[in-house]
Symmetry: C2
Subunit: 533 residues, 2 copies
């Protein structure tokens, strides 16, 4: 435990850092979790920093060994190797571990570190599996980590681990599958424990860890595994460590995530393609039917026109509204990057993702372009995803959409309609629902939420961006609904990490920042709770 | 010239035919152009019939030699062989011929037969090229004609030409590329001339023929060729011989054809696919934009919502309305065959094709089904064809559609928008227009139209179906606008001929009927003009 946070040394160091920022950084965009302008620079943080600076080679060597094990969740042999590596790494650090198996699923790894006399338990989630790779599109072997002095597209050249000096290479990148998504937070947590031990700083709370092995497949067994281990997984708060930090490279914390429900929608025309001249405007055109359905579901401004769709949307609190205002405006830069002169409806991107979305992810009917034929297609399909916000529920959303279609005269089927059905009902729509899951959002003024903010702000000050929700869907609800524990999301990696694609990479600065973050969370949370009480 | 048409023999033969129909055909669907119930059965027709019955082997042998020459319009060597075969066939029958060449185009073949003292000239059009073949999908070589005793799917077995007896094999089929589309009417015209000569019946009018060699490529040079040969192509009426007869196998005549204009429509989203969770209902979704455009252009009942779109639609005359009522009702059978329980809006198929149509021939955006990703697509495309009816013009239709889009806030471009354009204009739509061509429809009470009907009704009586327009697009306008001559369409082949696809075939009965049709048109038109004056 460290009690003194403001010392002369830290003040002096803070002054030097501020001076440095004036000299070198003032005209540059902010990179990394800098400590400029930070007045509460603690002894502890200086020690942690000193630790990873001195031990960067050892940390990277350990990370290289982890990244060298292929980790596609269907590659059973290798997934088991990853799990063994993790168990060993946790046990080396004195954690009690469990390896939970379900037939046909990669093992779920649990780790626990008890802190004597601690009243609180923090849980951390990350996943050790990665997206499948198309190796031919990678510049190097996805499972042979490569360290470059800057991003490859900026002309990055190989760096020796032994020669790596973080201060000389602020944009150094580590290329490997899962270098960012999602082995990075795992490595940072392990190194944070090493740092605390080396600096003789004790964790202030009990720590629990879950490392999942099939997140990229949609976590098909996570719900069952959590349910079966509810007792072991008891905690005061779960922190999900996945996804990238803000595009400005500023750190970010999300107190919720949108839910999701996917839908494949098919409408039918004639049983065979028909000459559009001989049958056009007599035989039903399924593409037109589909366009009319989609236009009835939402307008081009993103407004969902389904009756009652917004009824369950929970209003924002004053604190949530304030958080949106404080977040750095990115809309103009984003539009430029994406080459768009508009966004859907009024409101910033932060405001928009606090509303439900209906996204058309695909359309298909007949043929377009050079292969288009003068024919009436036999069917038309749209693939949709609905992003849900609290307190919407997937089942409710499904029933509203079905009611909307029925009201418009459609006969709803759930599989390919047979001849009898087709001859009986004029307008048939086939719905193939994905199961989906609900959104979750914890109140920003929850005592534990305030303690987390406090801890992180001790490191980052006003650089920390707080947002009520992340636009993407993350099954936070598993924690809030199955484990009856609030959960939030703490991302760590760079946004330009090519996550899921080829040449996935980690900006090393984000790894070092991660080590500092987790060190503080492990060791300072208790203090923050006291301070925010 | 034949003067006596109603003789005792013909009356007796008519009676026998009627009796035969009672005995054998009453319970069967009507097949072929039967003469049942026909009281005016002429001597002449009996002679013609007798001719083809006696000479069927010779006629089929000549047709086999024609069908054995591959006829894809881009296969220059073979196309020239087809042209030479035709020139020889026409010259053998005493016609004056011309072979018109344009660089890069198959030759257009002209033939002329003058009839001493004739006041009228009838022109006939057909095409000798065929659709490309996918030989692997054919049951036999597309250019090695095969004669079967019935359709292949009904278990047809090979027949020797020499053993072929039309009365024993009413459903005999000839399999070859272009057996129907469109060498069949050419062969029927040649055999009709042979029949007239053999029966010592003289044509009653001057005859002109055009045989085109690139219809299946969209007739890119026909307009230029017609323009350059206007004088030679002077006629009182042009008869286009292409397409199938009615699905009931009853003969049909169309006094017009819909025009067409094609459009490829593209709208744009973000420059790269975006995560639909992080950006959904902020970044513009192009598929939604497209659905809204399409729904604004037409409703699901086929009604076109573009302002002024129907303004130029010429009202139907009383005779045209009557013709629609007289045509056999096919909607219910068609719906059953096509497995649909409805058609777009009220009205029979005959009524609907007298209106313009907007057909969506294809939709494409992102991905659907198993390959769908939770992403906002970068663009969405629709491929459309508009079917036009008199007196709509393609240029006018294009300007109405562009005005519609502009009114709805779209910035119209005609090629891929560059970055500057994308950043300047919120809603951009790219339009790629096909040139298209206008519709045409001659009045059914035009004196020449009446004479044609009279001639055909002498053969078919009330079996003849008369329709103001065919739904498909055929460039009749080239004749009416370039040659300033009315034109109509006289189909000859069976509707179930697999035209354009594999195993194209001709129902032989339709060939024999064709020989009778052309014999009558060549020899009786003059008389019909007198009778309908």
């Amino acid at each position: 435990m460290v009690r003194k946070f403001v010392s002369f040394i830290s003040l002096f160091s803070s002054f030097l850092s501020w001076l440095f920022s004036l000299l070198f950084l003032s005209s540059k965009p902010l990179i990394g979790f800098d400590f400029n302008g930070q007045t509460k620079f603690s002894d502890q943080l200086a020690k942690i920093r000193s630790f990873w600076q001195k031990n960067s080679q050892t940390i990277l060597e350990e990370y290289f060994s982890f990244l060298s094990i292929p980790n596609v969740s269907t590659d059973t042999d290798n997934i088991v190797k990853n799990a063994r590596w993790l168990i060993k790494a946790l046990e080396k650090r004195g954690l009690e571990t469990r390896l939970l198996n379900i037939a046909g699923a990669p093992p779920l790894i649990l780790g626990e570190l008890r802190t004597r006399g601690s009243k609180f338990t923090l849980g951390f989630y990350a996943h050790y599996d990665g997206q499948p790779v198309n190796a031919s599109r990678w510049a190097s072997d996805p499972w042979k980590p490569v360290l470059l002095d800057k991003p490859r597209e900026a002309g990055g050249m190989p760096l020796e681990i032994s020669a790596y000096d973080f201060s000389l290479y602020p944009e150094a990148r580590l290329y490997a599958r899962s270098a960012s998504d999602d082995k990075a937070p795992i490595m940072a947590m392990l190194a944070a424990l090493d740092a605390l031990y080396a600096c003789r700083i004790s964790p202030s709370v009990n720590l629990k860890f879950i490392f999942e092995g099939e997140e990229e497949r949609g976590s098909p067994h996570l719900s069952a595994l959590l349910k079966a281990n509810q007792e072991f997984l008891e905690a005061d708060l779960w922190i999900l460590c996945d996804g990238p930090v803000h595009q400005s490279r500023r750190p970010i914390i999300y107190f919720g995530a949108r839910g999701i429900v996917g839908l494949e929608l098919t409408v039918y025309g004639p049983a065979r393609p028909l000459h559009s001249g001989h049958y056009g405007n007599w035989a039903p055109n399924p593409a037109s039917l589909l366009a009319n359905i989609l236009a009835s579901l939402r307008d081009a401004e993103g407004n969902i026109l389904i009756e009652g769709f917004y009824r369950d949307v929970r209003p924002l609190t004053g604190e949530e509204k304030k958080a949106l205002e404080e977040a750095p405006a990115i809309d103009d830069d984003l539009k430029k990057e994406l080459k768009i002169a508009w966004s859907e409806g009024p409101g910033s991107i932060y405001e928009k993702i606090l509303l439900p979305a209906m996204n058309i992810r695909g359309l298909s009917s007949g043929n377009v372009g050079p292969s288009a034929q003068n024919a009436i297609p036999t069917e038309a399909r749209a693939s949709l995803d609905f992003r849900l916000v609290p307190d919407q529920r997937p089942e409710k959303v499904k029933s509203l959409i079905e009611a909307h279609l029925k009201k418009r005269g459609f006969y709803v089927v759930y599989s390919e309609p047979d001849e009898e059905t087709r001859l009986k009902f004029p307008r048939i729509v086939r719905l193939e629902w994905e199961e989906g899951y609900p959104p979750a959002r914890m109140p920003m003024n929850d005592p534990l939420a305030r303690a987390i903010k406090k801890t992180l702000e001790e490191v980052w000050g006003n650089q920390l961006i707080k947002l009520p929700i992340v636009g993407g869907s993350i099954p936070l609800y598993l924690f809030s609904e199955l484990l009856h524990t609030q959960a939030l999301i703490l991302p760590m990696v760079n946004h330009d990490n090519n996550q899921h694609g080829e040449n996935e990479n980690l900006r090393l600065r984000n790894l070092w920042d991660g080590i500092e973050i987790f060190s503080c969370l492990f060791s300072r949370f208790n203090v923050s709770v006291e301070k925010t009480r």
